[in-house]
């Protein structure tokens, strides 16, 4: 049992935090209000190795452990949760290839992401299927050496600029989970229609769109793990991605907490800084406690992964607890700031808007509880 970071992890954290504070934070408000992808910042993050942390060394990646990835994600989300979503969405899309792809697929699809800044999009959710992912309707039909894809995907992060789409569809929607199939679709393939950019509450600089696939034909060699093997890959992906999303919640929470502490020391009411009022102290104490508890859950979920142990339950603990805590902490940070907190002139209102999404994507907080209960009662 050891809670300390290795010297390398300290350096990784320092670099990621330095990047978050120097490059992301000063621009977070601007890109949030413009609702534009900050390509220069994303590309710079990529050039420093902060993007695509899931790619193994054999394919040009840095060979990070799951815990390393969590440290990086937390720091980047500290800088801006929206920008981090654009970064994290790459991992989400590439993870199915990392976890379920063949050697040829890994070489073909992962390595280019280490040579140049490229963007990937993960396409699972549909207009009528979110939490009920097993019920997706996008069809994948065999046609000789190819498959033909038809269907609509919704809330697809990075969709407008993606070089690569990793799509989940079904070969027979009546078979539910047993027919889910994951397939890689490269940009420019005929039949991909990108929808208009969604005007969102938070994470406004990340690009979210609907994507329609009209008779999109790709080679069977693009199918990850074989026909009808997609569900298992999706579940494995979630074991990795949920702690990562939870880590981003920790970053957002820590940022809101730090802002609140700083402001509480400066703001004077009744002749003393409000940090001397017990009402504020108790709020800050709760915020600090929940942030650290979230972080520990994230680290344990990642530690289990690094030790090849099952982490499904812990991943859901981390995701639900960290997301719900982040929402609470961001809301309380606004409370500490009072009226100023409600203004866009101060940073905490954005964090509050950004925090909400963490409770929704990658499995809502309610779905996490379903997963946890299922693990408790069926094992």
């Amino acid at each position: 049992m050891d809670f300390s970071y290795t010297p390398e992890q300290i350096e990784i954290k320092d670099l990621a935090m330095k990047f978050a504070k120097n490059e992301m934070m000063p621009k977070a408000q601007e890109f949030d209000s413009k609702a534009e992808m900050p390509f220069q910042i994303l590309e710079k993050a990529w050039s420093l190795g902060l993007v695509n942390t899931c790619i193994p060394t054999e394919f040009g990646g840095n060979g990070f452990s799951a815990i390393d990835s969590m440290i990086i994600t937390e720091a980047l989300a500290y800088g801006c949760m929206g920008m981090n979503t654009a970064i994290m969405a790459n991992d989400l899309a590439l993870l199915p290839i990392v976890l379920g792809g063949s050697l040829e697929q890994k070489k073909k699809f992962l390595t280019p992401f280490t040579e140049k800044y490229k963007i990937a999009a993960f396409c699972l959710t549909e207009p009528s299927n979110g939490s009920d992912a097993g019920g997706i309707k996008t069809s994948i039909k065999e046609d000789g050496d190819d498959v033909i894809i038809n269907g609509n995907k919704m809330w697809i992060t990075n969709a407008g600029y993606a070089d690569l789409f990793v799509l989940y569809g079904t070969t027979d929607s009546s078979l539910k989970h047993k027919a889910i199939t994951a397939v890689v679709i490269e940009k420019g393939t005929a039949g991909i229609e990108i929808g208009k950019k969604e005007d969102k509450m938070g994470h406004r600089c990340s690009d979210t769109r609907a994507v329609t696939f009209n008779n999109v034909r790709v080679s069977k060699s693009n199918i990850i793990g074989g026909l009808n093997k997609g569900w298992g890959i999706a579940m494995k992906t979630l074991d990795h991605s949920r702690p990562m999303v939870a880590a981003s919640a920790v970053g957002g929470a820590q940022c809101a907490l730090d802002h609140a502490i700083k402001y509480a020391k400066e703001r004077v009411q009744f002749n003393v800084p409000i940090s001397q009022h017990q009402a504020i102290q108790f709020m800050i104490a709760d915020m600090a406690m929940k942030t650290e508890a979230s972080r520990l859950l994230v680290h344990k979920a990642a530690w289990l992964l690094d030790n090849q142990l099952s982490n499904t339950q812990l991943a859901s603990y981390a995701k639900a607890f960290a997301a719900d805590s982040c929402m609470q902490i961001a809301t309380d940070a606004v409370q500490v700031f009072g009226g100023y907190g409600y203004s866009k002139e101060y940073p905490v209102e954005k964090i509050m808007r950004d925090a909400k999404l963490i409770q929704l994507y990658e499995g809502t907080s309610q779905i996490q509880r379903l997963v946890i209960a299922k693990e408790i009662f069926t094992r």
Binding site: E8, E11, I12, D14, N62
Partner: protein, 262 residues
Amino acid sequence: MNIYVCVKQVPDTETKIIPNADGTFIETGSIKWIMNPYDEFAVEQALLVQAANAGSTVTVLRVGSVKDTEALRTAMAMGADDAFLVEAADNLDSYSIAKALKGAISKSGKNPDLILTGKQAIDDDCLQVPQILATMLDIPSVSVVVEYSGSTTDIVVKREIEGGALEVYGVKLPAMIACNKGINTPRYASLPGIMKAKKKPLVVLSLAEVSVVESDRRVKYSHFQLPPEKPSGKKFDATDSAKMGGVVKEVVGLLRTEAKVI
């Protein structure tokens, strides 16, 4: 070219500095150490000179405690080739540090063509190690340098002087150049760089190995204490014109007797 960079590890600028229990130094237990920001400019300049002169090497040197090696690791993660650390207490004086650095250069087995460092360390602000080391090595030195150009034998540097003007120096190498903010923009140590730095050589030397002895110490710290707390300011009510004369008299009196400025 054999390029050397002297770096110091200093407390993070956000650290709250307090004297230790017996007042012999500052409390170092909870300090987060970073590379002295001016030294980051020196590391970056060394890497730029290296890139412009094929076959050059960049060696980083540091004198200080072995417990944290942040500054050297960061420099190697940025791209420096190897590092020497002379293990010593953090409260060594400038003369001993310069002598230790000279010893480390000699232990490295190469003759320096260029030595770079920051113009000052942001913790003790002594501003003298570059000049003492240059004197010991009998090479020219220029400090507060904001522009650098030149070949492997001759360089031109510009340094800032009072009033924002620049002095221009032509310098024959080997030389010591102490960098100021503005000379370049230090790169980030990339994650692949951090991973690679793990495999780069870091040689640890003792003070004895670089021939620094206790009698080399020119300055001994006798005591550390916080400055006295600033008393709160006085307010004078001069809104009532009838009482203004009295208020002015009181202020003048206090400036004489209490503040002792007139």
